[in-house]
């Protein structure tokens, strides 16, 4: 029995293993009825309109209107493509995994309907290579869908064709960036491309391409069947709908929780995820994955969990992944972990990201080894500034934003850790929580 704070729409019946099969999907949530209706009785523009009116925002990080993006694709005979972004590799994010594992057909139906809206004849699910279990599940489901005639040629006798290929990545976070994903799909190294041209105009194999996240596309069937109004009953004006939120780190019950956007962040962290571990206090958290600037508990705990509220607070909702740091966590070490990730994952194509992530890691390593001076903290901050807005894609910024925020908000702790390490004390024996974070415990 789900917690009253949860609103299970995408995760409806997700606890039931039968949902994974085509029959189960049909019985439990009358699956594929919407695709059938859309293919048989709906025009491309009707579908587009429904999606645009719903105000569905991308769930992959950028939060751009899905319907609008689909409407950017030029009309005409050229071959167009649809790519489902299932690369989910941002630290803290694991919601797409849950959706694919428990309800693969919901995604496939969403893709089939979105393909109608984008007039795409070829679709791909780019799934990170680590998710082999989920890729196998998708392969099986796709096979079922072909078998049942929801994919392939002349689908449901509507003279529409759709080929769907599950493409497994091989381990590179950058492939989640939409243009890098296209290069990877074309068989190249996953390097981001210059924009413009944007994928909607010139994407895969040079053709117009719609790229959406797993959760975004999983929302499509219900929006088209129940309508934009129904969808807007959940969430806020600017953040309509429900969101599967991944909560992890220093909480008692980490996991994915589907909530109506805009509920208090506290309900997610305390109400659903059970709050901090016994005897601990929450110091700070990433509201939207490791690339979102951390908020101190005081800053963030009582904000509505919505795109707009997080943006106003100087952070972002991103992919909707909360990582909680409690008072045993050394922020400088967390900054280092964060930087190391982006350094490891930087594709190396552009200089500011390639060298900036590398240099930042080296400086943070000196910080936690006690081999740095307060001046290095200034250099770290200025290097983050030097990265921001200067890169080919936003991977560089994705490190610069949180790291800069941590140095700004927890500078005393950085200095204490430096001093401690220099004095031979294990900096992990965590320093008193700096003033900014006390609020959380009041």
């Amino acid at each position: 029995m789900p917690h009253e704070l949860e609103t299970r729409v995408l995760l409806e019946h997700a606890e039931d293993p039968r949902l994974r099969t085509l029959d189960g999907y049909k019985d439990l949530v009358s699956g594929y009825a919407t695709q059938e209706r859309a293919y048989k009785d709906m025009e491309q523009d009707e579908v587009l309109k429904e999606l645009e009116d719903s105000g569905l925002r991308g769930r992959g990080g950028a939060g751009f209107s899905m319907g609008k993006k689909a409407s950017f694709l030029p009309r005409g005979g050229m071959s167009k493509y649809l790519c489902c972004n299932a690369d989910e590799s941002e630290p803290g994010a694991f919601k797409d995994r849950e959706l694919m594992q428990r309800n693969p057909h919901q995604l496939i139906e969403g893709i089939a309907i979105a393909a109608l809206a984008a007039d795409a004849g070829h679709a791909f699910i780019f799934i990170r290579g680590e998710y082999e279990e989920q890729a196998d599940i998708l392969d099986a489901a796709v096979a079922e869908a072909y078998e049942a005639g929801y994919l392939g040629t002349n689908i449901l006798d509507c003279h529409r064709d759709l080929e769907l290929v599950v493409h497994r990545g091989a381990g590179a976070y950058i492939c989640g960036e939409e243009t890098a994903l296209l290069d990877a799909l074309e068989g190249k190294r996953g390097n981001p491309r210059l924009k413009p041209p944007f994928p909607a105009v010139q994407g895969l194999y040079g053709g117009p391409t719609l790229i959406n996240n797993v959760e975004t596309l999983s929302n499509v069937p219900r929006i088209v069947s129940k309508g934009a109004e129904w969808f807007r009953q959940y969430g806020t004006e600017q953040s309509p709908g429900t969101k599967v939120v991944s909560v992890s780190g220093g909480v008692r019950r980490p996991g994915n929780y589907e909530v109506s956007l805009g509920i208090p962040t506290r309900d997610l962290i305390y109400g659903l995820a059970g709050g901090p571990l016994p005897g601990r206090e929450i110091k700070a958290f990433y509201p939207g994955g490791s690339s979102s600037p951390v908020l101190t508990a005081a800053e963030g705990m009582d904000l509505p969990y919505s795109f707009e509220a997080m943006a106003e607070a100087g952070s972002m909702l991103g992919s909707g992944s909360i990582i909680v740091a409690d008072d045993t966590v050394s922020i400088p070490h967390m900054a280092l972990r964060t930087a190391r990730f982006y350094h490891h994952e930087s594709c190396g194509k552009c200089a500011p990201c390639r060298e900036g992530t590398n240099w930042t890691v080296k400086m943070l390593e000196r910080v936690v080894r006690g081999e740095a001076t307060p001046m290095d903290l200034d250099i770290i901050s200025s290097v983050q500034e030097n990265i921001m807005g200067h890169c080919l894609c936003v991977l560089g910024d994705s490190m610069a934003m949180p790291v800069a925020a941590m140095v700004r908000k927890f500078r005393p702790e950085f200095e204490q850790v430096m001093a401690a390490a220099a004095g031979g004390i294990d900096p992990h024996v965590v320093v008193d929580a700096p003033p900014e974070t006390l609020g959380a415990t009041v």
């Binding site: 789900p2 917690h3 949860e6 995760l11 590799s89 630290p91 803290g92 694991f94 995994r97 428990r102 070829h122 990170r128 290579g129 680590e130 998710y131 082999e132 279990e133 290929v165 493409h167 497994r168 990545g169 091989a170 381990g171 976070y173 799909l185 074309e186 068989g187 190249k188 190294r189 996953g190 991944s246 992890s248 780190g249 008692r252 980490p254 996991g255 994915n256 929780y257 589907e258 506290r266 962290i269 305390y270 109400g271 659903l272 059970g274 709050g275 901090p276 571990l277 601990r280 206090e281 929450i282 990433y286 490791s290 705990m301 990582i323 966590v329 967390m334 972990r337 990730f341 994952e345």
Partner: protein, 219 residues
């Protein structure tokens, strides 16, 4: 004229590389697109790669899947395997090696049969990922033929932190002690940590509600 003080060096004083005097020799054969006839590609591998190429509008899209196939066949992306795939795909081996070396899961160096990737990223690190990695390293010991143990970036399973991917399947949350158990089960060819397999977990929201810590919940 030379801006430096004193007499400028004359070319006679400057060293001349042996490329100029006797010429340098080729260290090995350059590698262009190999002819199929010259690589004796196993027929299953050739068939597999051709089938993969068939899935995409452009054959080059098959490069990552083809490299997966090579890795399945040989345990890692061996130069020979890369040449074979390259010959079938009509691309240079250099192209495929370049692609392979970009991705963390494709190995251009030999690795052990069982691949254990322990997440050491933020959430797992907070929950003891580093200790878990050490435990696996210790348990696997010197046995590099059977085990490849490595720390890994976020595997997308922070809900079961600390966790590990063992032969491409997820397990967590793991106690350091369970590392040894898993290694033994792998050695014995038994099912690995059945109770900790991600596949067997329910939704977090359906697990028993945790008495939310009073401090926060109270407000």
């Amino acid at each position: 004229m030379s801006p430096v003080d004193g007499p400028g060096v004359s070319s006679r004083d400057l060293p001349v590389d042996r490329a100029v005097t006797e010429g340098r020799a080729l260290s090995a054969d350059p590698e262009q697109i190999p002819q199929l006839a010259d690589v004796d590609c196993p027929s299953e591998l050739q068939a597999r790669v051709e089938e993969l190429m068939g899935r995409y509008p452009d054959r080059k899209s098959a490069s990552i899947p083809a490299l997966w196939a090579v890795q399945e066949r040989y345990g890692w992306c061996t130069p020979e395997g890369i040449r074979q795939a390259a010959a079938v795909m009509r691309v240079t081996p250099a192209y495929l090696e370049s692609v392979a070396s970009f991705y963390d899961l494709l190995h251009t160096e030999p690795v052990g049969t069982h691949r254990i990737e322990v997440c050491t990223n933020i959430s797992c690190w907070m929950r003891g990922g580093d200790e878990l990695l050490d435990a696996f390293r210790a348990a696997a010991g010197e046995d590099e033929d059977d085990f490849f143990v490595t720390g890994f970036e976020c595997l997308g399973a922070c809900d079961i932190a600390p966790m590990a991917s063992i032969d491409q399947r997820y397990y967590g949350p793991l106690e350091a002690a369970e590392a040894g158990v898993a290694i033994e089960q792998l050695r014995a060819g038994a099912e690995v940590l059945p109770a900790k397999a991600l596949a067997k977990r329910g939704l977090a929201g359906d697990s028993p509600a945790p008495g939310a810590s009073s401090i926060g919940g109270a407000i």
